[in-house]
Symmetry: C2
Subunit: 216 residues, 2 copies
């Protein structure tokens, strides 16, 4: 299936032209993300927390301390809404009303399932690889205590949609004659120079996966 | 009052050392943000939507189409959780377990109040100024139809806290002897070159507030 189903829950209500249900588009937007924002309900009140996200096949994973209220809650299968957002720039129109931002976002609705056994170790390595591809070959392997201290929760991608705005402003027809500059100011999240941990006890070169690290 | 109250709701539960309730710190983090993620509940299910945010004094504002489900909901004063997140870099530790990210985030709990009358026009200009300081002097003024089509909701800052992680990794004592590079990879959201709207009918220079635009 190349597309996710368009359901009552995932149907884009505002500006439906910006909606996408295309699987490859949605996978790519999730993979480009380092963090997501997770919405959940505790005692009938909404909470939102930013956290790391990792995708494998048609599932996404969240992880954190076994003691985290959010992770406990998600591991119980309570309703979650997980959002990935890329801010691509500002859109400067001739009127304030048509000012906007260019963005690409994904909204995922679902209920988590805790990950255990050998899968858990794999997924924890996946989180490191998603942050910095190549890093897992260098680090000290995870131990039993760390595995036990960590909760991993899986969400199948099913109730999911993307919303994308790109390109120049769209102004009212009569405003195009006004002598007002209009256009876009693009943004990119850029990696700077790696900084050595001042506590390093040996002189070690910056790994090549960092010197050539590039944000998509 | 220099600090926001530390309440049962805003108390940082995980890693409380990272918490801050300092008013100036929180104001600065909100002002640096272009977007926030808004959590709310509809039919007992959590929703999260990214949207623009603007602060004035001790209030923050959200805005959008009068037809937006989120805005209708927030204007009714339903519970909201509004989060601002700045991702500052990756933290590469000697173990996967201690890998982390540097970030600065603010979580705001509150109930919105619709903004009407002359204030509404002021706040809509504020949104444009927050995107691009200086822009409002150039644009066509908002008209009655646009004012009516837009909902603005105000939230007083009261139940609010910040969470900040910065600096190098913190590894297990015995791991510091391992021959593994450790440190940080900083990230910044950078503005690129302004792009003219191809539909511009006159040759107009890029405004100086864009050529010297800088992200904080």
């Amino acid at each position: 299936m190349k597309k996710f189903p368009r359901t009552e829950k995932t149907r884009i209500r505002r500006l439906p032209k910006r909606g996408s249900y295309d699987r490859d588009t949605i996978y790519a937007l999730i993979d480009e993300a380092l963090i997501c924002h997770v919405g959940f309900i505790v005692d009938a009140e909404p909470h939102v927390i930013p956290t790391a996200i990792a995708r494998l096949n048609n599932d996404i994973y969240l992880h954190g301390s076994r003691l985290s209220r959010m992770l406990k809650h998600l591991a119980e299968g309570k309703d979650a809404c997980i959002v990935v957002t890329h801010l691509d720039g500002l859109v400067l129109a001739r009127s304030g009303f048509h000012h906007s931002m260019n963005y690409r976002s994904v909204v995922i609705y679902g209920n988590g399932v805790p990950v255990t056994g050998r899968d858990k170790r794999e997924i924890l390595d996946l989180f490191v690889e998603r942050l910095v591809p190549g890093r897992t070959t260098d680090i000290r392997a995870i131990n039993r205590k760390e595995l036990n201290a960590t909760t991993v929760v899986k969400f199948e991608l099913d109730q999911v949609s993307a919303k994308i705005r790109c390109g120049p402003p769209v102004d009212d027809a009569e405003d195009y004659d006004l002598p007002i500059w209009a256009g876009e100011l693009p943004f990119t999240l850029q990696a700077g120079k790696p900084r050595n941990d001042p506590a390093m006890r040996q002189k070690l070169p910056v790994p090549s996966y960092l010197t050539r690290y590039k944000r998509k």
